[in-house]
Amino acid sequence: MQNLSVISINIWDVLISLCNLMLLTWVVKKFLFKRVQKVIADRRAAIDADYAQAKEAREQAEEDRLNYAAAMAAVKQTSDQIIAEASRTAEHRGNEIVAEARDKANDIRRQAEADALLERKKAEDDMRREIADVSAQLTGKLLEREINEEDHRALIDSFLQEIDS
């Protein structure tokens, strides 16, 4: 086999090596660059999607938080209202009960006073009747016998004793 001389131009060789470079360019482009660039693009898309998703989730959470806060405020307002209403009702009811009780007590007292008055009157009547009875008896006794000083005194004492007894 022969060697080429150190410097010799062969147009076919030149052409072949030109085609070789073009072929390798195609190879490198198709099998390395396109694939790697596709993967990098895929990864970027995935990352972008993740970021978008995270942003969406954050916004959703913020919205939820605001909604919740609003709902809580509404609930608090309602509960305050209910409590105020209840306390107002309770106060009203209490006042009613107190007034009713006071009325009842007044009635009872009035009744008692009336009863007492009646009782006193009855007692007075009784006493008066008693006195009348006693004076009648006394008169009877006076009429029965002569009365001296001593008798008189004893009479009075006995009368008083009678009253006391």
């Binding site: 001389s5 482009k29 099998f31 993967v39």
Partner: protein, 306 residues
């Protein structure tokens, strides 16, 4: 969440494919070495020659020669194809395999290099530049396994340089043929021949720079090896028996030279070739004239339409 498919890295099928791809990277070089060993004629002393001729096919103008440099180039191409397939095997957005980092690193570095040196308009040229870098560097480095470096053949680098020249011309004509043609006569018509030579000197200088550097490295290396062999025979020839025939001085010392001439220079020339390609192609576009031409065309079209 978009579902990202992850390949089963541990599966038998995946690993078998991996081994096949690794073999695809290595085997071309083995085949090239075998071919070289089979075809190399026995020779004595210092032997400096071009690529081996494997096949000669009659063709018009010149015979079509399938030489060692072509075969080695194809080996390099197949090997790079294997590398690309290996690096992108099991590629996912989630980066399961470590090799994906290497693949992304290569792509991003090349992309950045091209974007910085050529501008955004040429960003799709990253693959071309990566191909030049890979082909040139691996071709130069293939001499480390004893092959003839394809870049040491002027035909190979000339082919690349002509492709680059075609690209440069393609972009220079963006401003219109007349714009380019009149540019040759500037600043004064007297400069026309010099300008014309200047146009053609770009590919010639690119081709010869690369070829010359690699070949000179190979020449210096083989001269050095021969010289050290001779020196070893002179100094240590008195050793008895077979020991005297072993060129001890050739052990180790040429390797140091090889690091410079083959590894450093090979990578350097690949980078220089790629840089010159980027600079020349990106600098070839006459932006102002091109934009003016586009504007004129647009106006004409709208006038025809309206």
């Amino acid at each position: 969440m978009s579902e990202i498919k992850t390949p089963d890295v541990k599966s038998r099928r995946f690993r078998m494919t991996d081994y096949a791809l690794i073999a695809m990277m290595i085997l071309p070089f083995v085949v090239c070495i075998l071919l070289k060993v089979l075809f190399t004629p026995a020779h004595e002393g210092v032997h400096i020659a071009g690529a081996l001729i494997y096949l000669e096919i009659p063709a018009p103008v010149q015979p079509l020669i399938i030489s060692e440099s072509q075969v080695n180039s194809w080996g390099v191409i197949i090997s790079i194809l294997g590398l690309c397939l290996y690096l992108t095997h099991g590629l996912t957005a989630k980066a399961v395999c470590k090799r994906q980092l290497a693949a992304e690193w290569i792509v991003e570095k090349c992309q950045k290099l091209v974007d910085e040196n050529m501008g955004d308009y040429f960003s799709t040229w990253a693959a071309f530049v990566a191909a030049i870098l890979g082909l040139s560097a691996l071709s130069s480095l293939s001499c480390l396994v004893g092959l003839f470096a394809p870049t040491g053949d002027v035909n190979v680098t000339a082919g690349w340089a002509i492709l680059v020249f075609v690209l440069i011309m393609h972009y220079k004509f963006r401003g219109g043929f007349w714009n380019y043609f009149s540019g040759l006569f500037k600043p004064i018509p007297f400069f026309a021949p010099i300008n014309l030579i200047g146009e053609f000197s770009t590919p010639v200088s690119m081709a010869f720079r690369h070829y010359g550097n690699v070949l000179s490295g190979a020449v210096v290396s083989s001269l050095m090896a021969a010289a050290l062999g001779g020196l070893s025979r002179t100094l240590l020839g008195w050793l008895p028996g077979i020991l005297g025939d072993i060129p001890f001085l050739r052990i180790g010392i040429p390797a140091v030279l090889s690091i410079y001439f083959d590894v450093f220079s090979g990578c350097m020339q690949a980078f220089i070739f790629a840089m010159l390609t980027m600079m020349n192609v990106a600098g070839a576009v006459p932006w102002e004239e091109w934009n003016a031409r586009k504007e004129k065309k647009r106006l004409r079209r709208s006038a025809a339409a309206g």
